[in-house]
């Protein structure tokens, strides 16, 4: 057997090793109900901001405490606590991806990823800067 072959096999072995070890690395998208059953592990939850509740953030009291309610894909809502500052324009987000875990009756978010379509996609047309005309872009 040639050395080059041994190295080649070695590379394949390591690659398989990486694939196997991936099982412990990837996380999963969950909902609040499924996350409640699997405590002690971080998950990702996709949902939308529930605007019927007030956002709680008072920088003077604690600049690192922000809480809100999220409605997940099943329509369940849950209180979310994020230990950081309130992202600007949070109210305008269309979809939110949370990373974190359940902690008793609230979801303890480590990371928030907001998707604000208005930021990047322009589906509104400003006419004379006053009235807005809704238009559905053709591309989709």
């Amino acid at each position: 057997m040639k050395k080059a072959h041994i190295i080649g096999l070695g590379i394949i072995a390591v690659a398989i090793g990486i694939i196997i070890s991936m099982a412990s690395d990837y996380s999963s998208y969950e909902t609040f109900s499924s996350a409640k059953q699997k405590t002690g592990k971080d998950f990702q939850i996709v949902g939308t901001l529930d605007k019927s509740y007030e956002l709680e953030y008072d920088a003077a009291k604690d600049a690192n405490y922000f809480s809100f309610y999220l409605k997940d894909k099943n329509g369940d809502e849950c209180k979310v606590v994020f230990h950081g500052s309130k992202p600007q324009d949070f109210e305008r987000s269309e979809s939110i991806v949370l990373t974190g875990r359940m902690n008793g009756d609230f979801f303890d978010a480590k990371h928030i990823l907001m998707k604000c379509p208005s930021k990047y996609k322009n589906d509104k047309l400003d006419v004379n800067g006053t009235q807005e005309v809704d238009a559905t872009p053709e591309k989709s």
């Binding site: 390591v14 690395d25 953030y57 604000c116 047309l125 559905t136």
Partner: protein, 815 residues
């Protein structure tokens, strides 16, 4: 309907140019193909001439597209969707280029442009033998890219997306387009994303895309070699191109990192974001290919893997295009992706080039020459091969993890919706845990391999030098680990490897090469890589937040983690301790469209309490009506560390003029010198006077304006002045309020009563508007090593490139 003032000719010309590029590229492919396949030299040459002519047509059309699109943007022709979406009237001239490539169509155009430039150079440089097959591949790619810009419907399927579509064609159904004079209502465009309004956006994309485009050169040569069954002759021609590509793509990637660090708020230069990964992987593979190619050139080994690496490198560029442009990464990246509905097209493009390339390599694999004799363990080529294998593993891991959103649906389907996999929750830690051992091995290999000779080495001398270097390395490692408080075994291992690399490459330059500058290339690149990783290690392992906020409530053990208190609340004029500094938010200023927050940093002498150093940082925020607050950091650079700050929250401005209800005002009829008491202050009317000029309102001739000068004394703290106005303009009387935000007082001059010599002042008390910012401040120690390392690595590539040209020249003159 005929629309007024629409300028149609640039769009028509632009579209015509796109179609010309597509058609001429396609015909050029055919001509070059016939020329390559033909055995008769006369036929070869005549088809080659035709192909070149078509190439020239293509090149002119590419330039035509660029000029027309630039014209549309420059002239603010908002009837075109591209100009409307990406530019606006106020946008400074220097950013017009940035709007040019902000959109997907523009970035494809940029790629097309570089393809054309590189292709033109290749026509001159590729030589008689290689021109036809290499340019044939180039034009295949060019035709593919042109098809992305076609935007033509074939039955119900739209192929590509054109930058020349009209706004009214994109926004079908908007009522405004029912009117012939719709253009007179569209005064301004959407504007360039404020995040992208900086010089990085002007220089980074062209360089990165030149890097991407240049990986096509080795790919095209490799295919040409397999096609012509000349497996060895291409190496000499392709060598300088690969070095160029390595330098440019590397620069492009790290410029992205520098951009992120300088003006985005990720809090670092690298976050293993899918977009970053997608550009890094082709570079890793390209570098692997450069090394195996050098091994082949000197020893005859590793030719097969050279083919594999160069083919893969461009395929991975295509794959990264697919990842970043199909919208598939949606939930896993901070970068914005717009889906232009081209996923199918992109997959076709990717597979259409990948499958033939892999088949061609597979059927020729056995025919590619490989020496009977194995490489010796004590030879440079052996360890280069091992190193390339490690780079391959590195690229494999990054690709596998970045691609999770690609195969997640498959996993979901197989598991019958039970498993819904998502990217790792801590991407940085996860990627680092795999890439750190890779970095250690690559550092060690790239250092000691230089001391081995090709084919066979003198091992005695090798061991002697290794012992010297290792001893020096151990001493420095211990010193740095101790000074830098690096205790994790993995950190120490990386530190050792980086120091080893730095010492070994320096030693090599000075004792082995003995000042032969022209040969410095490889050692310089490796030295740069060592310095780079040293910088990465120290700046990230010892990165610390100095804006620690403990005003918060204690939530128990888990929340006492330092990371959870990294945002500092900074009321105006209050000194907050930040590490060795005291920071004070002293005010803000606006310079459209940026809002700058002035933060004064003072460093005290701990014993005498004297201010030893002070500076002001201006972390800024753009408060954009369309996009909200977009914050950019400001950084104080020292030779050995950076202080990096950015604003995370600012108070939302309430428009109290409208919201204050009428009942809140209390009426006071007073004369000059009288005093009014409010709940927390008293107010003295100092004077009532005619006002000629005011910053609150523009006064014209004939206006009568009176102001009440009020002096406000709060219970504690400094006093304020306010001057509400009473104005008679064109027979209409009105009051113009004045406020003292800090005290939450609003003053209104409601009436002037001349016969009593009195005025009526109304006062409303609202919640004081606190001025504050919430900010983060981090210290990155020795981050300059990162940039220094990158510059040296790129310089190493360039020195090698220069050396190749010199050698070629001397060979040429000898003939």
């Amino acid at each position: 309907m005929i629309f007024e003032n629409e300028l149609r000719w640039p769009g028509i010309w632009g579209q015509l140019f796109v179609i010309t590029v597509f058609v001429s590229s396609f015909l050029s492919v055919v001509s070059y193909f016939i020329s390559t396949q033909s055995k008769d030299e006369i036929i070869q040459n005549s088809w080659k001439r035709i192909a070149r002519m078509l190439f020239v047509v293509q090149a002119i059309a590419v330039a035509g597209i660029v000029v027309t699109l630039y014209y549309i943007i420059h002239e603010h022709r908002f009837e075109y969707h591209y100009a409307w979406e990406h530019s606006s009237m106020q946008l400074p001239m220097k950013y017009l280029l940035a709007c040019f490539w902000e959109g997907q169509e523009g970035s494809f155009l940029l790629w097309m442009w570089w393809n054309m430039v590189l292709g033109s150079l290749l026509i001159f440089r590729a030589g008689k033998k290689w021109e036809a097959p290499v340019l044939c591949i180039f034009m295949v790619v060019q035709a593919f890219i042109a098809s992305m810009l076609l935007g033509i419907y074939f039955w119900d399927y739209r192929v590509g997306s054109t930058p020349f579509s009209l706004l009214r064609d994109v926004m079908i159904g908007a009522p405004i387009f029912q009117r012939a004079d719709y253009l007179s209502f569209i005064k301004d465009g959407n504007g360039l994303n404020p995040l992208l309004q900086n010089y990085w956006m002007v220089i980074h994309p062209p360089i990165l895309f030149l890097g991407f485009a240049s990986t096509l050169v080795p790919f095209a040569y490799a295919i040409a070699a397999l096609w012509k069954k000349d497996f060895t002759g291409w190496i000499v021609s392709v060598l300088p191109w690969t070095l160029f590509s390595g330098a440019v793509l590397g620069t492009g990637i790290m410029m992205g990192g520098a951009w992120a660090y300088e003006s985005l708020t990720f809090g670092g230069y690298w976050a293993w974001d899918p977009v970053e990964n997608a550009s890094l992987v082709p570079w890793l593979i390209l570098v692997g290919g450069i090394h195996t190619m050098l091994a082949y050139k000197k020893s005859g080994h590793s030719l097969r893997s050279t083919f594999l690496f160069f083919l893969l490198s461009f395929i991975l560029v295509l794959y990264s295009t697919f990842l970043t442009r199909s919208g598939i990464l949606g939930n896993s990246s901070v970068h914005a992706f717009t889906d232009l509905g081209m996923s199918g097209h992109l997959v076709f493009y990717l597979l259409g080039l990948t499958i033939p390339a892999i088949i061609l390599l597979a059927i020729n694999w056995k025919k590619i020459p490989a020496p009977e004799k194995e490489e010796a363990m004590a030879s440079r080529e052996f360890w280069i091969f091992v190193g390339a294998g490690i780079l391959f593993i590195s690229a494999f891991q990054i690709t596998l993890y970045t691609s999770i959103p690609v195969y997640a649906p498959l996993v979901k389907w197989i598991s019958q919706s039970k498993i819904n996999i998502a990217p790792p929750t801590e991407p940085i830690g996860t990627y680092n845990s795999y890439q750190l051992p890779v970095a250690v091995l690559v550092l060690l290999l790239s250092s000691f391999a230089l001391y081995l000779k090709f084919r066979k080495s003198d091992m005695k001398q090798f061991y002697r030098r290794m012992i010297i270097i290792s001893v020096i390395t151990v001493i420095f490692t211990v010193l740095i680990a101790w000074q830098g408080a690096l205790t994790y075994p993995t950190h120490v291992a990386l530190l050792f490897a980086a120091v080893f690399s730095i010492i070994a490459n320096l030693y090599y330059m000075f004792t082995v090469l003995k000042g032969k500058h022209r040969l410095y290339g490889p050692a310089l690149a490796h030295l740069g890589f060592g310095i780079f990783l040293m910088g990465v290690l120290i700046s990230s392992a010892n990165k610390h937040t100095i804006s620690l906020n403990y005003r918060g409530i204690d939530y128990g053990k888990r929340f006492n983690d330092l990371d959870l208190h990294t945002n500092q609340y900074m009321p105006k004029d209050s000194r907050e301790q930040m590490g060795e500094y005291f920071a004070t938010f002293i005010g803000d200023s606006t310079s459209e469209p940026n809002h700058y927050y002035k933060v004064l940093f003072e460093r005290m002498d701990t014993s005498t309490n004297e201010v030893k150093e002070k500076f002001i940082l201006y972390p800024n925020a753009q408060i954009n009506p369309k996009m909200g607050l977009i914050s950019s950091p400001d950084t104080r650079h020292y030779w050995d560390h950076d202080v990096y700050t950015h604003v995370t929250t600012v108070p939302e401005k309430s428009n109290d003029e409208e919201t204050t209800d009428e009942q809140k005002f209390t009426e006071h009829k007073i004369a000059k010198g009288d005093t009014i008491f409010t709940s927390k202050s008293y107010v003295v009317l100092e004077n009532v006077e005619k006002v000629e000029k005011s910053d609150k309102i523009k006064l014209v001739k004939g206006d009568l304006c009176v102001g009440a000068k009020l002096h406000v004394f709060p219970m504690t703290g400094k006093d304020y002045y306010a001057e509400p106005l009473y104005l008679i303009q064109g027979g209409q009387a009105m009051s113009i309020n004045d406020k003292v935000n800090d005290l939450g007082l609003i003053f209104r001059l409601t009436k002037v009563i001349p016969d009593q010599n009195k005025v009526q002042i109304d006062i409303a008390e609202v919640k004081p508007e606190q001025e504050y910012i919430v900010m983060k401040a981090l210290v990155f120690p020795f981050i300059n090593l990162v940039w220094l390392g990158v510059v040296m690595t790129v310089a190493g590539f360039l020195v090698s490139l220069f050396r190749v040209f010199q050698k070629k020249k001397s060979v040429g003159s000898n003939n």
